[in-house]
């Protein structure tokens, strides 16, 4: 057996009252893609971020190629051989793609007192070409890129440094089919070059497909490492959550159903370059899924339906004919919106759980429409915390201290608490573990039974197929196909209409 490139021994880490890692040993071997899996808050991101220099361990030892390893920062770690692609956005929007790629190395391009931007852009283009992201160019402003493209820039930034260990932290959920293929190619290249990859994902199918070994973490402890031949979904799930979790989490019925009444309608919605005459009807008691590649326009469509983006032509109307003009009118008509970019668009990270849940429901519990009393607010917030089983120390805990899954539950609580009749969910299970996913799917099914209308926009085909009454596929801003719920519907039937 080859010696590990990275060895982590007895790693301990605490955050305030939370024990994030409790004596974890982890090795990364050459020529191996090692999957790290576990529920939200299990310690996956913490252990990998310690290896990549983002933070220090409280106790424990690390060795990189046999030498003691203690990077002072992520840049230091990357320079010395361990690079990490982080879970949330790791780019800066006010500058160009090339400036993001060479953020700490601008002086490399100095020619006297000026920076040779042409050369910097050329080098950036080479780095992007090397991972197969040739549609992104170095001179593009970062703010012009969508979430997926920004992630690809982050991948290029790490890969161009040619590290020996690549850490990929829940990056694939931000990527569409094509983006994932780029990432998988990069990971496989690392394996072929006898380097190591630590791959964190909540997608069991993906991790079983891509990884050579699989390490399960739970509550800050290493539970078990599976070799490829030991991969078994039920056994892995059981290791992850500590109890048996069998079968599907999706809807068990295969009969499409809805009420006759229209909940929301988009008529001939167009935005040049993004949407091209999209017509869409969502009925009460119906779950409609929208799928497609990242640039197909589905994320824009979600924002247009919520009133956050005004279409150039066309309109959005509710069942009673009222037009949705902005976010305020959406909320008046009981429409809720869960954004894909959770930390930026759906949550106020500096605020507490209480602030985040209460903000959307002020008009629901205010006395005489304006007076906010602590008693009413606590009751309102505590109900969401209890109903959604949000794991927290108390309602005043800062949202940024929560794991991804619990953050997402707070976002759901925000909209469900105010009794939203229509929910637009953009990638609702991005970065959440299977336990939370199951809870969310159950919630959606319950809401459907209550006659509520749900629109799921997702890059996860099994999720769309498993939950939707109707599945709409988009390509180049247009609807290319509509499927009706059926037991025989598979990924293969759908993919042809996406590409």
């Amino acid at each position: 057996m080859k010696a590990p490139i990275l060895q982590m021994k007895n790693i301990h880490k605490r955050f305030s009252s939370t024990i994030a890692l409790d004596g974890v040993d982890l090795d990364a071997f050459p020529g191996e893609i090692c999957g790290l899996i576990g529920e939200n808050g299990s310690g996956k991101s913490t252990i990998s971020s310690i290896a990549a220099g983002m933070q220090k361990a409280d106790e424990g030892e690390m060795f990189f190629r046999g030498e003691p390893w203690s990077p002072v920062s992520m840049i230091d770690a990357l320079e010395k051989g361990i690079g990490m692609i982080v879970q949330e956005s790791g780019t800066i929007s006010g500058i160009s793609v090339a400036e993001n790629l060479f953020l700490a190395e601008v002086k490399k391009f100095r020619k006297g007192p000026v920076v040779d931007r042409e050369e910097m852009n050329r080098q950036a283009d080479l780095a992007l070409d090397a991972i197969g992201a040739s549609d992104i160019r170095g001179n593009m402003p970062m703010s012009a890129l969508d979430f997926q493209a920004r992630k690809l820039v982050e991948i290029a930034k790490v890969v161009m440094k040619d590290p020996d260990v690549l850490v990929v932290d829940e990056t694939s959920t931000a990527l569409s089919h094509e983006g994932r293929n780029i990432l998988y190619d990069v990971m496989r290249r690392f394996r072929e070059e006898d380097k190591a990859v630590l791959f964190i994902s909540h997608d069991l199918d993906e991790i079983m497909d891509v990884c050579d070994t699989l390490t399960v973490l739970r509550d800050g402890n290493l539970i078990r490492t599976f070799s490829k031949e030991e991969f078994n979904p039920d056994a892995i799930r059981m290791s992850m959550i500590g109890r048996e979790l069998k079968g599907d989490y999706y809807r068990s019925d295969f009969i499409p159903s809805s009420l006759d009444e229209i909940a929301l309608k988009g008529e001939d919605l167009s935005i040049p370059g993004e949407l091209d005459g999209v017509d869409l009807t969502l009925r009460k008691g119906e779950i409609v899924g929208i799928g497609g590649l990242s640039h197909c326009g589905m994320h824009t469509l979600g924002k247009v339906l919520f009133g956050a983006i005004r279409p150039e032509s066309g309109r959005v109307v509710t069942g009673d004919g009222s037009e949705i003009r902005d976010e305020g009118s959406s909320m008046k008509h009981n429409i809720g919106y869960v954004a894909k970019d959770r930390d930026t668009e759906s949550l106020n990270l500096t605020a507490s759980i209480r602030d985040n849940i209460a903000i959307a429901g002020l008009d629901r519990y205010a006395v005489s429409g304006f007076l906010l009393t602590a008693g009413n607010e606590k009751k309102y917030v505590d109900k969401q915390i209890a109903d959604l089983s949000i794991k927290c120390s108390d309602r005043d805990q800062a949202v940024q201290q929560l794991s991804g899954g619990n953050k997402q539950k707070v976002v759901f609580g925000k909209w469900i608490g105010r009794g939203s009749d229509i929910l637009i969910l953009d990638c609702p299970t991005r970065g959440v573990d299977i336990g939370v996913k199951r809870d969310m799917y159950r919630l959606m099914s319950d809401m459907k039974k209550q006659g509520k209308a749900i629109l799921i926009i997702s890059e996860e085909l099994p999720e769309l197929i498993g939950m939707s009454d109707r599945l709409i596929i988009m390509k180049d801003g247009r609807i290319t196909k509509e499927f009706t719920r059926s037991e025989s519907l598979s990924d293969a039937d759908v993919i042809n209409y996406m590409i």
């Binding site: 605490r14 955050f15 305030s16 009252s17 939370t18 024990i19 994030a20 939200n40 808050g41 991101s45 913490t46 971020s49 983002m54 933070q55 982080v86 919520f306 956050a308 976010e327 305020g328 959406s330 909320m331 919106y337 954004a339 930026t344 668009e345 759906s346 949550l347 106020n348 990270l349 500096t350 605020a351 507490s352 602030d355 209460a358 903000i359 959307a360 002020l362 008009d363 205010a366 304006f370 007076l371 906010l372 009393t373 120390s393 800062a398 940024q400 201290q401 929560l402 794991s403 991804g404 925000k414």
Partner: protein, 330 residues
């Protein structure tokens, strides 16, 4: 007690400490002032009167400004607005002899100036800071022009002292501060206005996607600040019924320092506190007076400024202590 509970208790203790620290600082500074005045053999009641007169104006204008700071914005023109409002008030009284019209003019101009800044910012999408810098220059210049044209830069312009004398009593000033603070606290902590402003200050993108109208709440914040400026301008005239080009000159920067002294994060957002303006306003005025007594020379002015700056940095560090420790990768 397990280690988890102990750590949670420790964290909450630190949170409580950060919350009470500005109050403790105010009490300590007040005690130091009393001791210093007595040690130097000065009259304490005289200093308390100075302190209240200066502190009330700063606390009122800062309380109104808290609504702007909560949004993460910054208004440097509040001193110039106070000067301009008082100047127009004096001119109106001298032209009409009507006290009611003078009050109306002061509040109209104060709120109008604030509204203009916010409307310029929201309609033309100019950063608030830029519009307020421009407003500061324009208002100071116009006020200076009026003052020099009507009474000379040094002497300034004035109204008869007897017009405002009935209001130059401590109970009235404290009552005005109490009422204004109570109204602001109610709006800030117990209504949708304050709650939405705090949320907006924390994350404007998320606030927009939660149906909060950015422009509407920015304009409302500036209206509140304008009311504070109006009251401040009136009380300035009550204290000294004349206006010179130097009147209220430093208020704009003093507000920033005062609000931070009071324990409010400089970036605004959900951890903003309305009481920070009053606690910080008085702390700052007391600190200045202590330094004036202790360092009684021209050279001492620079030292006072340095001490204030060090104090300011220390307060920013302590108030941000809990926040920094919460930035965890999970």
């Amino acid at each position: 007690m397990d280690s988890k509970t102990a750590l949670l208790k420790k964290y909450k203790r630190r949170q409580r400490l950060v919350t009470v620290l500005p109050f403790v600082a105010l009490a300590v500074l007040f005690a130091v002032l009393c001791l210093t005045v007595q040690a130097k053999g000065y009259r304490l009641p005289m200093y308390l009167k100075i302190l209240l007169n200066e502190g009330v104006v700063l606390a009122i204008v800062a309380t109104g400004a808290t609504f702007i700071y909560t949004l993460g914005s910054f208004d440097i023109s509040l001193g110039a607005s106070t000067l301009f409002s008082a100047t127009v008030g004096v001119m109106v009284y001298n032209a009409t002899g009507n006290f009611g019209l003078m009050l109306l003019a002061i509040f109209g101009v104060a709120i109008g100036c604030s509204l203009l800044s916010s409307v310029l910012a929201s309609v033309f999408h100019i950063p608030v800071f830029v519009t307020t810098v421009a407003m500061m220059s324009v208002l100071s210049a116009v006020a200076a022009q009026i003052i020099t044209a009507n009474g000379g830069a040094l002497g300034g312009i004035s109204i008869p002292a007897e017009v405002v004398r009935p209001f130059d009593v401590m109970w009235f000033k404290i009552l005005v501060l109490t009422v204004f603070f109570a109204v602001c606290m109610f709006l800030f902590d117990y209504t949708k206005l304050g709650r939405r402003q705090k949320f907006l200050g924390g994350n404007p993108v998320c606030a927009k996607l939660t149906g909060i109208d950015l422009n509407k709440y920015a304009i409302l914040a500036f209206i509140m600040a304008g009311i504070g400026v109006g009251i401040g301008a009136f009380l300035t005239l009550v204290y000294t019924p004349s206006v010179t080009t130097g009147t209220a000159g430093s208020i704009g920067m003093n507000i920033l320092v005062a609000i931070v002294f009071g324990g409010m994060p400089i970036s605004g957002g959900p951890r903003s506190k309305i009481y920070a303006a009053v606690v910080g306003g008085f702390s700052y005025i007391i600190l200045n007076n202590i330094l004036k007594i202790l360092i009684d020379s021209n050279a001492g002015y620079g030292i006072s400024q340095i001490v204030s700056a060090v104090f300011f940095l220390a307060v920013v560090y302590v108030t941000g202590m809990n926040y920094r420790s919460q930035l965890l990768p999970r």
